[in-house]
């Protein structure tokens, strides 16, 4: 890094340290950012990315200690600015797009008002006009209409864009975007990235925060990899992503499932020898859905066709990936298959026997054959139960929650999902996201099911953790010959895990077939759009030698 900072430099951070009550969460971070450039902060959850970003606006948080040799924004020392000056700077010099846009806008006020609030110095009458311009600029269709709606009336993508609009309201020379694309459908994600690229070209200095390397690969000029509050690798995006020097970076890269053939390992966790259990090729139809439809009555009297004539077959030991954007009916389908929602028409059969048509009393005895994993594992655990109680309950088929009798099974399950025995006594709320999902999987395995329904099982997880879970699921499938219905909006993930895919939109399955066929030679336009939007890492070839 050059000692002198050219006028082009908008951010200049040297040895930034941020501490909260007890410990430092950011220790010695340094970087600079020039106009029209994009610096990406990568790193696992909790590594200190957001705090760093917030510190740049003097918003590190209450009772936070921020120290730095230098913390300059457009040449002004943030640490020395008065409260008033800081407020003046925010929004004017630096725009911040907060993490999780879904809750970053006041749910009680129209987004238009939220954006207008940022428009200082612009006469009131001109504001509305300006708000519409901004929304349009952020790629929001029908800005007039959207401006009048509240955040919770907008889709995730629209919220994210509205948030960006409010951040660029005074077109600041610096824009900080914290996880702007997480939890968004690939198509939407693509649009957001386009928007950011546009801003960058327009000369905005962009500080992009993400844990999704693929995303970064498309936008960033320089990458700083953060871990435990420190930058472990820093350099031009191309080099860092193609030839990472730091093992942690390698790990991150290896974990990206996109473009990784089925069966290749994402984590460094050793699996069983590939030949241990041969992938069954026999096509035993384990679970079949025929012409499922489900319509929901909306409060306004109209109907919403959540699932529309959906049919598919799931084979023993194989994975059917169900991909589609939010609201396309994936979860509803899953719920029907699980016998939680009755289809209006159509039927689900298990081993050719009736399933969805059975009365609950008759279905109950065979329920253990179909397990489920959810996007939000925490919510699926009784908050009063410890891990071992949860597992005892599952292992005993509900006869008891007392671990005493089931020690062996519990330990077996914990081991199978790679959790230390120590977790047995703890409550899920005290576990990390990855550990929770493992517990959920263990619980699902306990009754020795034939089918696992996985609804967005990794969407809420870090790349690294996601990698481990995906590998785990793969191992288990081989071990027990499980059939998976794997639901996700992430093409990369689906592609990596499934033998067959079904692409879903507006409640219908528009295309289905063997994964490679569907995803390399898509026939349906929607699938094509999906693929085009999916970000990929440049130089896939370069990653071969990363694998140990």
């Amino acid at each position: 890094m050059p000692q002198s900072t050219t006028p082009e430099t908008v951010l200049d951070v040297r040895d930034l340290r941020i501490g909260f009550a007890d410990a430092d969460v950011v220790s010695g971070v340094s970087f600079t950012l020039q106009r029209g450039q994009c610096l990406a902060l990568v790193g696992e959850s909790g590594s200190g990315k957001s705090v760093t970003a917030r510190a740049l606006l003097g918003l590190a948080g209450p009772r936070s200690r921020v120290r730095a040799q230098r913390l300059h924004v457009l040449g002004q020392d943030v640490l020395r600015l008065s409260g008033r000056a800081l407020r003046a700077m925010r929004g004017r010099d630096v725009g911040l797009v907060l993490q999780d846009a879904l809750v970053a806008l006041d749910p009680l006020r129209p987004v238009g008002r939220e954006i207008a609030a940022a428009l200082r110095g612009i006469p009131a009458r001109r504001r509305r006009q300006r708000v519409w311009e901004l929304l349009a600029a952020a790629g929001v269709p029908q800005p007039q209409r959207r401006a009048a709606q509240r955040a919770d009336e907008l889709s995730g993508g629209l919220r994210q864009r509205a948030l960006i609009a409010s951040a660029i309201a005074l077109n600041p020379p610096v824009l900080i975007a914290d996880e702007p694309t997480t939890a968004l459908d690939t198509t939407v994600q693509d649009q957001i990235l386009q928007l950011l690229l546009g801003l960058k070209q327009a000369g905005t200095g962009l500080l992009l925060i993400s844990h999704d390397l693929a995303v970064i690969g498309r936008v960033a000029d320089t990458v700083a990899v953060m871990r435990d509050g420190a930058i472990v690798e820093h350099g031009p995006a191309r080099d860092v992503l193609a030839t990472p020097t730091h093992p942690y970076t390698r790990q991150l890269l290896a974990a990206v499932p996109a473009d990784r053939p089925r069966g290749t390992r994402l984590s460094d966790r050793p699996g069983p020898p590939a030949d241990a259990v041969p992938r069954p090729l026999n096509d035993v139809a384990l679970l079949s859905a025929a012409a499922l439809t489900k319509r929901y009555a909306l409060p306004d009297g109209s109907h919403h066709l959540a699932v529309d004539d959906v049919s598919f077959t799931l084979h023993r030991g194989r994975t059917l990936g169900l991909v589609g954007e939010s609201g396309s009916g994936k979860t509803t389908t899953a719920r029907i298959v699980l016998g939680l929602t009755r289809p209006d028409t159509g039927e689900v059969r298990l081993d050719g026997q009736p399933w969805s048509t059975l009365p609950e009393s008759r279905r109950r005895p065979i329920r253990p054959r179909i397990g489920a994993i959810y996007q939000d594992p925490l919510g699926s655990f009784d908050p009063r139960m410890t891990v071992e109680e949860i597992l005892a309950d599952a292992a005993s088929l509900g006869h008891s929650t007392r671990p005493a009798g089931y020690r062996k099974e519990i330990m077996g399950l914990l081991d199978a999902v790679g959790l230390p025995a120590a977790t047995a006594g703890r409550r899920p709320a005290r576990l990390s996201g990855g550990q929770r999902q493992r517990v959920a999987i263990a619980r699902a395995l306990a009754p020795r099911p034939d089918v696992l329904i996985c609804d967005e099982p990794v969407s809420a997880l870090d790349v690294l953790v996601q990698a481990q879970i995906l590998d785990l699921l793969d191992d288990l499938q081989r071990e027990f010959g499980l059939g998976y219905l794997f639901i996700s909006h992430d093409l990369g993930v689906v592609r990596h895990v499934s033998d067959d895919v079904a692409v879903m939109t507006n409640g219908r399955i528009v295309e289905a077939g063997p994964t490679e066929q569907v995803l390399t030679a898509p026939s349906h336009p929607y699938t094509r759009r999906l693929l085009a939007a999916a970000p990929r890492l440049a130089g896939a070839s370069a990653r071969k030698e990363l694998l140990p």
């Binding site: 606006l57 929004g91 907060l98 749910p107 939220e114 409010s166 951040a167």
Partner: protein
């Protein structure tokens, strides 16, 4: 339209049930209604007098007949005549309801004002301040109305001689009663608001408001306060009920005419028509108020207006 009809029907049902419960409740009160009419068991009333009254008021008819009769009269908006005072209950209620509603209404307003101030002043920075505030709130909630009232009288009437200890038509006479009703409620609302206010201050959208360069006051008044108010608003109907309860005590203490006092004396005298009348009226007011509260709720929280109907979209913080 049909929703409105349903609502009205529900209200009618509630009132009917209230009447029924009260009717049989009053029947269970020991004592002879005929004697109540003759000025209580203390009256040296003769058998003849009692018999005459029983016949006149139809106390000798079977219970269910009287019940149906009662319903018929109420349905016609006739609340009957007080046993003790021989005045129509409608007149009695008419004379007193204004006073009580004023008292309760003002108390509600004052309680809100105090609670809002407490909430907006709240911070996470000074833990002592927070602890002190919450201690004050808890104490306020735990202080019985009559005790607080006596204290206020002691200080402001006897001590400083600023305010009259017993009610006067003017505003001055309202101050102490209102305070002794409002402060406990303020404590309750304060707790409620302060917590949700602080929660709102931690919410991401306040952070992004700050990041937009909005001033602290704007963040507090425009964003956080509205969120903080929501739970308190939804509880205002209930709060009003508790104020009516308090009014029974406060009216006795400050010698204010009002529904509470009417009810108290009616209960003591076994004056069934008055009891039923007052309870019915209070219930009606409550129902009206719940409607108002819901409206206010929807006003303050647009999410309730949107299709989903409940706070579905509410963020998880």
């Amino acid at each position: 339209m049909s929703r409105l009809a349903l609502r009205v029907l529900g209200a009618v049902f509630v009132l009917w049930a209230v009447v029924t419960l009260t009717f049989f409740g009053t029947q269970a009160i020991p004592g002879d209604p005929a004697e109540a009419v003759l000025g209580g068991p203390g009256s040296r009333s003769t058998a003849a007098q009692l018999a005459q009254i029983r016949a006149q008021y139809g106390f000798d008819r079977p219970l269910w007949v009287r019940y149906l009769d009662e319903l018929r009269h109420l349905a016609q908006g006739d609340l009957g005549v007080s046993y003790a005072l021989k005045t129509p209950v409608t007149t009695l209620v008419g004379q007193t309801i204004g006073a009580t509603l004023t008292l309760a209404g003002l108390s509600l307003v004052v309680a809100w004002a105090v609670a809002v101030v407490v909430a907006v002043a709240a911070t996470r920075e000074s833990r002592i301040g927070a602890a002190l505030a919450s201690l004050l709130e808890i104490t306020a909630v735990a202080v019985p109305h009559f005790w607080l009232g006596s204290m206020l009288i002691l200080v402001f009437s006897v001590g400083l001689g600023w305010l009259p200890p017993i009610s006067t038509p003017g505003v001055a006479g309202l101050v102490l009663p209102v305070l002794s009703l409002a402060l406990p409620l303020a404590g309750f609302l304060g707790q409620l608001m302060r917590e949700s206010f602080l929660a709102a201050l931690d919410a991401p959208f306040t952070l992004s408001a700050r990041a937009r360069g909005e001033s602290e006051t704007r963040v507090r008044l425009v964003h956080a306060l509205r969120h903080a108010a929501l739970p308190a608003i939804s509880l205002s109907g209930w709060a009003f009920g508790s104020l009516i309860s308090g009014a029974v005590v406060v009216e006795a203490l400050f010698a204010r005419p009002g529904l509470g006092r009417t009810l108290l004396s009616a209960v003591l005298a076994g004056d069934a028509p008055v009891i039923t009348g007052v309870v019915l009226v209070v219930a009606t007011v409550y129902l009206v108020l719940t409607v108002v509260t819901e409206a206010a709720d929807r006003l303050a929280d647009p999410r309730l207006r949107s299709a989903s109907g409940q706070r579905a979209g509410a963020p998880a913080w």
